[in-house]
């Protein structure tokens, strides 16, 4: 059964369909939440809230806008970032790891890649490697560290406008690298 069919059933109150979706994506969801939050309990809360969001209002997922897993991971990431922004201590810890990797790049070229390689899958690692150091910095701090663009600007001393343009350019580049996307064809290649 496809993800889309499971969501349709879930919307009709089908608990089995809900459980099937959980089983299908709980690992991805929890792993992402854990990476961003660091704290296990926080990550569990994030995952639970994300799946409850789907249960309460499955209409929020729109099939024509993307796959279920993309939708779910988006919700997880946003909630994880919100949680980690509330927990400044945790956030500083996790972001410090990312920052350390990035700072080390200046001292030992390629050291950040080595650090990231230790925690990220090959596909993402290779894609990040293709970015410029500056682009990689804003993506890592924002996505894995949970920082807003303003905070990235403050952390790095890079003007906010530059942070915004680097992030935009990085995402466009990653789109080609990770999804093979071009600007016209948005074939998601996921179960629908």
């Amino acid at each position: 059964m496809t993800d889309g069919e499971l969501v349709t059933r879930l919307a009709e109150g089908d608990r089995v369909a809900f459980a099937a979706l959980y089983d299908r994506y709980c690992r991805q969801a929890y792993s992402l939440a854990k990476r961003v939050c660091v704290d296990t309990q926080l990550a569990e809360d994030v995952v639970q809230e994300a799946f409850l969001t789907l249960w309460r209002d499955p209409g929020r997922y729109q099939e024509q806008r993307g796959s279920v897993s993309t939708w779910l991971l988006t919700v997880v990431h946003h909630r994880a970032v919100d949680a980690v922004r509330r927990e400044n201590t945790q956030r500083k810890r996790s972001a410090a790891q990312a920052e350390q990797a990035l700072v080390s790049e200046q001292e030992h070229p390629g050291a950040d890649i080595a650090a990231i390689a230790g925690v990220l899958g090959e596909k993402v690692r290779d894609a990040l490697h293709e970015l410029t150091g500056e682009q990689r910095e804003v993506v890592v701090l924002a996505y894995y560290g949970g920082y807003t663009q303003c905070e990235v600007s403050a952390l790095t001393g890079v003007p906010l406008g530059t942070v915004k343009s680097r992030m935009f350019a990085a995402v466009r580049r990653l789109r080609t690298l990770l999804t093979g996307g071009n600007e016209q064809d948005r074939d998601l290649g996921e179960q629908r």
Partner: protein, 284 residues
């Protein structure tokens, strides 16, 4: 902005990327969410960015969640009612489920307050403009009396209102709505914003000093064109630094105004012609 996107670029695309990645400040969120429903281009950018975001998410080291999480979740849904299915067509794409949009859980409110605490600063014109624009979109069309943004010490209250705005902005959108930014008579900096749709309008004070409500009143004037006398549309007071929309309306047979002016008048009634014009602007 120079991009290699094909088709029509939109100046909001950088914001779209930031919004999808959840890295914007609250004022930017409000600004973009007012724009998103009417812009297919930005909806595409949001969807494409979220694909990348999900790929970054899939790249983290995988580990199994604790077993009790599944059991807890399945127990929880027994207490959670589902909202009825909605018709298709509402915009916002995947991110409609994000914690930045729609109904928030208490934790989300807290996170917004904290992020807002670090963002909007008193006197930040962009913040004011973004929030005021959102307020206008809501009030002019929905008639929602939303009191917005106490600049200064009430950060949490401001954040709550911003969250309400973000929600409300999603619900409105009138292609006939027109705005005019009222620039100060002296240096032109924005002192108020006017939005009009049909024969109804809203004025939002942004940087107007409080008037003596026993002896003075502000008046909003409609300007129909060169050589035509401005027309008093309504009087309003400014009690303090808060942004609070004021609704005014005028007869159906009024001319099509091309701009607006704001004056400060002695007395509590609008005169036939403005005395001290404090700002004016043309419709966007």
């Amino acid at each position: 902005m120079n991009t290699d996107y094909r088709g029509q670029d939109c100046p909001h695309e950088e914001l779209a990327t930031g919004w999808a990645l959840h890295v914007l400040e609250p004022a930017e969120v409000a600004e973009f969410e007012a724009h998103l429903p009417g812009c297919p281009r930005c909806q595409d950018v949001v969807a494409a960015t979220q694909e990348i975001s999900a790929e970054l998410g899939r790249g983290v080291p995988q580990e199994d969640p604790p077993v009790h999480l599944r059991a807890n979740l399945l127990a929880r849904i027994e207490q959670e009612p589902q909202v009825p299915a909605r018709p298709d067509g509402h915009s916002g794409g995947i991110a409609e489920a994000s914690s930045t949009v729609g109904e928030r859980q208490p934790d989300d409110e807290l996170s917004i307050r904290r992020s807002a605490r670090k963002s909007a600063r008193p006197g930040n014109r962009r913040t004011l403009l973004a929030i005021a624009a959102s307020v206008l979109a809501v009030v002019a069309i929905g008639g929602l009396g939303i009191r917005v943004v106490q600049l200064g010490a009430e950060r949490d209250a401001e954040a709550g209102r911003s969250a309400a705005l973000a929600k409300a902005v999603q619900l409105v959108g009138d292609p006939n709505m027109r705005r005019a930014l009222i620039g100060a008579a002296g240096d032109g900096h924005p002192v108020a914003m006017v939005v009009a749709a049909g024969n109804r309008g809203v004025v939002v004070p942004m940087d107007l000093p409080a008037n003596d409500q026993a002896k003075q009143t502000y008046v909003l004037w409609g300007v129909a064109g060169a050589g035509q006398a401005p027309r008093a549309l309504g009087a309003f007071d400014v009690a303090g630094p808060e942004i609070e929309p004021r609704t005014v309306s005028w007869p159906d047979n009024a001319p099509q105004f091309t701009g607006y002016a704001v004056s400060l008048e002695n007395g509590r009634a609008a005169p036939t012609t403005p005395t001290t014009v404090v700002g004016q602007g043309i419709l966007e």
